[in-house]
């Protein structure tokens, strides 16, 4: 046990100081920046000025539209519309509109047909390089004006008006199969399990590289022989897996601490509310459990894989194949959320390399009952024991084999052999 801890400590410090780990640690921030920058730009950047021509056929709504636009345009980053009112063009409407757009006087021309309030009949003409989004915004402005006019026509008093315009105050509640009810929290239901899944995937992809590289280095440098003169193969393998497991825990803790700090000091800058107290809920223990089990299972596979190859280039293809299992769940998130009870979801959840990911979704997004989670944890532990048994036999024999890569019959022979 003592040797396992010594090896784990050594491996942990080696990995922590590696460039690969530091890069992994900052990848989520890079992803957030890459995803967030366009969003930020879309919200905050200065929009180009759009010239809107309004041809109002007797509705007298231009003043109202102007008012609506000026209300909407307050503040930086909002759409900038310059409105121009045209009347008396009924005779040559089409050619007039074409001319307005062709000569760049207007980008969008809106024709408010007669009796618009009742008929709702509006025509939009725009240059073909104007985004449909801009057109929709103008459409929304016109609709708001028409809607207000309709409400006004009903001659409601001020209180009634406010009553009609009052927004919804939505609260979502979920009721489990056992009849337990709880308020839905975006942060708890999607963000936290999402982080655990993402970090698990990231951890698996990084640790696969680190572990395989480290075993290959020890093999090719013959460090393995010095190590095995002091420790046995089981201790060596366990130490490596424990080291990388601790690394995973450090990684997830790092992100959780950042979330806590953001929740305490920076929640007003964030698009969603970070309900930090929810972090300390019972669910987090389940996430951690499946995170650790997932990490251990993949690490065990990668340690034994490393012992089969003489150089990293040869190992890449096989690493890629196993890493694919970790990526599959990402493609299935929306499927299992909409079809949690489907037979495909159930079968996929039983495939061990996929189990930890799906269980995190099950627990977080679908509130799996505790006995199901516990059962699946035991199921996964049984698999890990089995995989460790096979992996340790392969590792023990392969670690000192040099030259030719073993064939499948040889691998089976090693697994069966107890020597």
């Amino acid at each position: 046990m003592n040797n396992i801890i010594k090896i784990a400590k050594w491996e942990l410090f080696r990995y922590i100081r590696s460039k690969a780990f530091i890069i992994t640690l900052i990848i989520p921030f890079i992803v957030i920046i890459i995803a967030g920058v366009p969003q930020y730009l879309a919200i905050n950047s200065e929009q180009p000025v759009m010239n809107i021509g309004i041809i109002d056929k007797g509705n007298n709504l231009f003043g109202e539209i102007e008012k609506q636009v000026s209300n909407d345009s307050e503040g930086k980053g909002k759409d900038q519309f310059i409105l121009q009112h045209y009347t008396g063009v009924e005779n040559n409407e089409n050619s007039f509109i074409k001319e307005l757009i062709k000569s760049n006087i207007a980008d969008i021309v809106v024709v408010l047909e007669t009796q618009l309030i009742d008929s709702g009949n509006v025509k939009f003409y725009h240059r073909n390089n104007i985004g449909i989004e801009q057109v929709s915004k103008v459409e929304q402005i016109i609709f708001n004006v028409v809607k207000n006019q309709r409400i006004e026509n009903l001659q409601l008093n001020k209180d009634d008006l406010e009553y009609v315009r009052k927004n919804l105050d939505t609260q979502l509640y979920e009721i489990s199969e056992q009849g337990e009810m709880e308020e839905m929290d975006m942060f708890v239901k999607y963000v936290i399990p999402g982080i655990f899944m993402f970090v698990l995937l990231l951890g698996i992809l990084t640790s696969s590289q680190l572990l395989v590289t480290s075993v290959i280095e020890e093999r090719s440098n013959r460090i393995i022989e010095i190590l095995l003169s002091s420790v046995n193969t089981k201790e060596l393998m366990a130490g490596k897996i424990l080291g990388i497991g601790l690394l995973g825990i450090i990684q997830i803790s790092f992100y959780l601490i950042i979330i806590i700090i953001l929740g305490i000091f920076g929640s007003s800058y964030l698009p969603i509310e970070l309900n930090i107290s929810q972090l300390f809920s019972f669910k987090i223990l389940w996430y951690l459990l499946f995170f650790i089990l997932g990490y251990f299972m993949y690490s065990t596979i990668y340690v034994s894989l490393g012992s089969l190859f003489n150089n990293e280039r040869d190992a890449q293809q096989t690493i890629g194949f196993f890493s694919l299992f970790a990526i599959i769940p990402m493609y299935f998130i929306s499927f299992i959320m909409t079809n949690p009870e489907s037979i495909i979801t159930k079968i996929l959840t039983l495939i061990p390399p996929i189990t930890p990911f799906f269980m995190i979704i099950h627990i977080g997004m679908l509130s799996a009952p505790w006995y199901y989670s516990l059962g699946m944890a035991f199921y996964l532990i049984l698999w890990i024991i089995g995989i460790t048994f096979i992996a340790s036999r392969i590792f023990k024999t392969a670690i000192l084999m040099y030259g030719k890569r073993p064939t499948f019959p040889e691998l089976f022979r090693w697994i069966r052999s107890s020597k």
Binding site: N221, I223, S230
Partner: protein, 298 residues
């Protein structure tokens, strides 16, 4: 100290080690010699309990090498390598603690050894930044740092300059005087001629000769002598020396079976003015080749 009894190891139906037995006494330096692929490394790996023999027994002291936990054996493998990105001092301490030393003791000993090998200035360098010879010194420190009672050194001198080879020999003699048992494994036999007390010559997984080095040399000696004279002597009587070759003032030849060295010297000093006399022991390599060729003839 070490008893190897009839060990056999087979890989894919090829016998890498075929019924090898030998004994190494405490405080001696023992040479495990043979060409590449003879089975030396496999034998060493079995002694180290890295792999287990298919049959046979290995006793270290009175314990089987297979028993329980790993035994404290200092091991220097033939192909050297360490964690290239790790630092010198921390690497030494890591391996020392794996050998059972406390962290404090390991640090203290690491500093002493680094100083002795003139590596103190490199203690925080990465292994990859060291020269090959210095990397080898670090690896040697790792082998000896926990003062093991048994050391197994595979080609310990390769890659070292003469100054460091001399230092290494000095250190090994110090360990020998502290009753440490040392096993050398090498294919360069001339390296161990003046260090080993006993040897085991291995070829194709089998022992072809084992025992005290001097006795073996005497057994396979061809009684070649060289006599240097003060005056110019061209030839000696054939009853004294056979197959004579004459150089300036010097005659080299083989002693006839009936002639004893003492008698020969008496005869020569009575009749000639002698300047020098040399008796040539055979080189280990010559003995090995003779044995291997003998095997082929059989």
């Amino acid at each position: 100290m070490l008893k190897i009894k009839n060990i056999v190891k087979e890989f894919s139906n090829i016998k890498a080690v075929d019924n090898i037995s030998f004994e190494v006494s405490k405080g001696s330096i023992y040479g495990l010699l043979g060409p590449n692929g003879a089975g030396k490394t496999t034998t060493i790996r079995m002694i180290m309990n890295i792999i287990q023999p298919d049959s046979g027994e290995i006793l270290i002291g009175n314990r089987s090498s297979l028993e329980g936990s790993k035994l404290n054996i200092g091991y220097l493998p033939e192909e050297r390598g360490l964690y290239q990105k790790a630092k010198v001092r921390e690497t030494i301490i890591y391996f020392a603690t794996l050998q059972g030393m406390s962290h404090g003791n390991a640090s203290e000993k690491a500093d002493q050894w680094l100083e002795r090998f003139d590596l103190t200035k490199n203690e925080n360098s990465k292994i990859s930044e060291l020269s090959r010879g210095n990397q080898q010194k670090v690896q040697f420190i790792i082998t000896v740092i926990s003062d093991p009672k048994l050391m197994i050194l595979d080609e310990p001198f390769s890659g070292l300059d003469p100054v460091n080879q001399k230092l290494l020999k000095k250190i090994l003699n110090e360990y020998k005087s502290k009753n440490t048992t040392i096993i050398f494994s090498t294919h360069q036999m001339e390296q161990v001629e003046n260090i080993c007390d006993s040897i085991c010559l291995i070829n194709k997984g089998k022992v072809i000769k084992e025992g005290n080095l001097n006795e073996i040399k005497n057994e396979y000696g061809e009684n070649i002598v060289e006599v240097e004279f003060q005056e110019n002597v061209k030839v000696l009587p054939k009853n004294i020396l056979l197959d004579q070759k004459t150089l300036t003032n010097t005659i080299r030849g083989k002693l006839s079976d009936s002639t004893k060295i003492n008698e020969m010297i008496k005869k020569l000093t009575n009749e000639y003015d002698i300047k020098g006399f040399s008796y040539f022991k055979p080189k280990l390599e010559q003995i090995f080749l003779k044995l291997v060729e003998g095997e082929k003839d059989e």
